[in-house]
């Protein structure tokens, strides 16, 4: 499958998860890597199957707080503990990855690792994100960056 098709599926998966479980939309592309400019939260998980690979998600902290408040039905101005915020971002990465893989494989099982929060900036993929999405209307720092690294492409 060409890389641009993977990118399209990745965006569709992110849109589905954000709209269904986080009650927000994707408002278009954002500047690549914009989430890393300020405070941000990052999670990574690996997946095994056909294909195998890694998904890394980084989200700006304002966007993370908005999404976590939506997900947990809490007040946005009621600060969530950092660990809970990180857990929501991990769950977001988990569901985007599951949605992505379910779109490209119907017969092969896949297995997702437990998503882990990343604290070390050095752990980011060296490349530009596959997708950078704006998740809040008119607010430039409400971005999600997604890196998808595949070991084996599905045929």
């Amino acid at each position: 499958m060409p890389d641009n098709e993977w990118d399209e599926i990745l965006v569709a998966a992110a849109e589905e998860v954000l709209e269904t479980m986080f009650f927000t939309g994707v408002y278009g592309p954002a500047e690549a890597g914009a989430s890393l400019a300020g405070q941000h939260i990052t999670a990574r998980l690996t997946f095994e199957g056909t294909p195998s690979g890694t998904l890394t998600l980084s989200i700006s902290e304002p966007a993370g707080r908005t999404l976590a408040a939506n997900f947990l039905a809490s007040e946005e101005d009621e600060p969530l503990p950092a660990a809970q915020l990180g857990s929501v971002v991990c769950e977001l990465a988990n569901m985007i990855c599951g949605s992505l893989l379910s779109r490209v494989t119907s017969e092969d099982h896949f297995r997702l690792s437990s998503p882990e929060p990343l604290a070390d900036d050095a752990a980011y993929p060296p490349s530009q994100p596959n997708q950078s999405l704006l998740v809040g209307e008119g607010l430039g720092d409400r971005t999600i960056d997604l890196w998808l690294t595949l070991e084996h492409h599905a045929t």
């Binding site: 269904t20 599951g98 092969d108």
Partner: protein
């Protein structure tokens, strides 16, 4: 009608999400128990009756597939209906889990009405909203 739901997921925030979704969907009378993996769920089920189990698949210690197998092999617990709530929505996985004995399958992400509909179906006519 009161009913008791056991939510099995290693993510506390996902357990919270499912609990709130059921409450906000308008299903009245729900009581909740929670477990972080299949083993903890089995221990709870041996001590307390529940009407339905909602379980993830990928979990440490004992995953959802093992939990369904254990329940099916247990004469006392095999009648407890299990609904899978998983990010894995491949046809093969759904078929496998239903063949093992799961009564339903909800794919994450899901809409509140999807979860409610599945719960109503599994709980049967006694729960008619």
């Amino acid at each position: 009608m009161a009913f008791r739901v056991l939510i099995v997921d290693d993510s506390p925030v996902m357990r919270t999400f499912i609990r709130r979704t059921i409450v906000l969907s308008g299903m009245e009378g729900a009581e909740f128990l929670e477990a972080s993996d299949g083993r903890e769920a089995l221990n709870l089920l041996r001590e307390q009756w529940v009407d339905v189990v909602l379980t993830d698949i990928n979990m440490p210690s004992m995953d959802g597939e093992q939990l369904v197998r254990c329940l099916e092999a247990d004469d006392l617990l095999k009648s407890v209906p299990v609904v899978i709530v998983s990010t894995d929505s491949t046809e093969s996985r759904m078929r496998q889990m239903l063949a093992l004995g799961a009564r339903g399958y909800v794919k994450k992400p899901f809409l509140p009405e999807t979860l409610r509909g599945e719960l109503e179906r599994v709980l049967g006519g006694a729960y008619a909203g």
